[in-house]
Subunit: 154 residues, 2 copies
Amino acid sequence: MASDLKIGQLAKQAGVNIETIRYYERLNLLGPSSRLPSGYRLYNRDAQRRLRFIKNAQALGFTLHEIAELLNLRVSSRARCGDVQRKAEAKLAHVEAKIQELHALAGALKHLIRTCRAGQPTEACPILESLEQETTNMARASSSSLRPGDKGRS
Amino acid sequence: MASDLKIGQLAKQAGVNIETIRYYERLNLLGPSSRLPSGYRLYNRDAQRRLRFIKNAQALGFTLHEIAELLNLRVSSRARCGDVQRKAEAKLAHVEAKIQELHALAGALKHLIRTCRAGQPTEACPILESLEQETTNMARASSSSLRPGDKGRS
DNA sequence: CTTGACTCCGTACTATGGTACATGGTGTAC
DNA sequence: GTACACCATGTACCATAGTACGGAGTCAAG
């Protein structure tokens, strides 16, 4: 079909690296719909949609692992929309928790910045001193990374 | 001195893994203040403070690399408190940008969740459909991870 | 003096999401 | 018919922050 793309064309269309597409294939996220006799990968419209799906879901903060689950839900005939909804809700809770954490972090940083008088030598720097304290009111920037190793896309 | 700890005691005191302490040593973040003739590492009060510093700074969202810079600022006699302040401000800007991003993400997720009617089979799931769209109003969860590979501590 | 806990070092492995490179085959335009 | 872009595979490498493990040496209590 005319809509079948080779890997380089697909990569360009989606704005990703060729290697990334083959990386997704290794993770069983996205395979070619067919191959030329030479072995060249071909991607039809479905595959192109699938790659968009991956990229959009990534933009929503889903990990590749979670995206694989979402894609499997789509295929499974027994899966319900509610299953997807629950995953989205879990992710939302995760995002909102992370926002709270970061607010606490920002507050602690602001506090430190306020106490700092720029001219002092660093032996007397209140920021550094506070970082040495045993018991801090430091934001306990706890766990729950949203997407570990997050690179995102600009 | 009585306050010198062996690596296992320091690890327990700080609530970290022994291997983590030796990992910090490899990164030139935290070395033993001395060694027993047997080669056992010993950590004095300064080293204990230094480890707290690392953990507190981590809790504020600094990477180990940035923490190394902060520790160097503390040692350098030419460094000024303002240098530290600037680093804290840069980190704050980073944190606040990340918060904005996550807000956009949360909004997009909420929107998707609202449009979902749980009983539907997944072929008709509006969330999955929207993820396939070419042009989405998806949050462009762009770049700027706060702390890549973030594991944090609970 | 033996047992068990602790420590040493070096290396490999984990997760996450890619990127890079070498070596060789393919496809096509001129 | 040859040059050049493209693609194949496999493997290694990047950052980040650790964790795990094997084999050997050490320390303290009984």
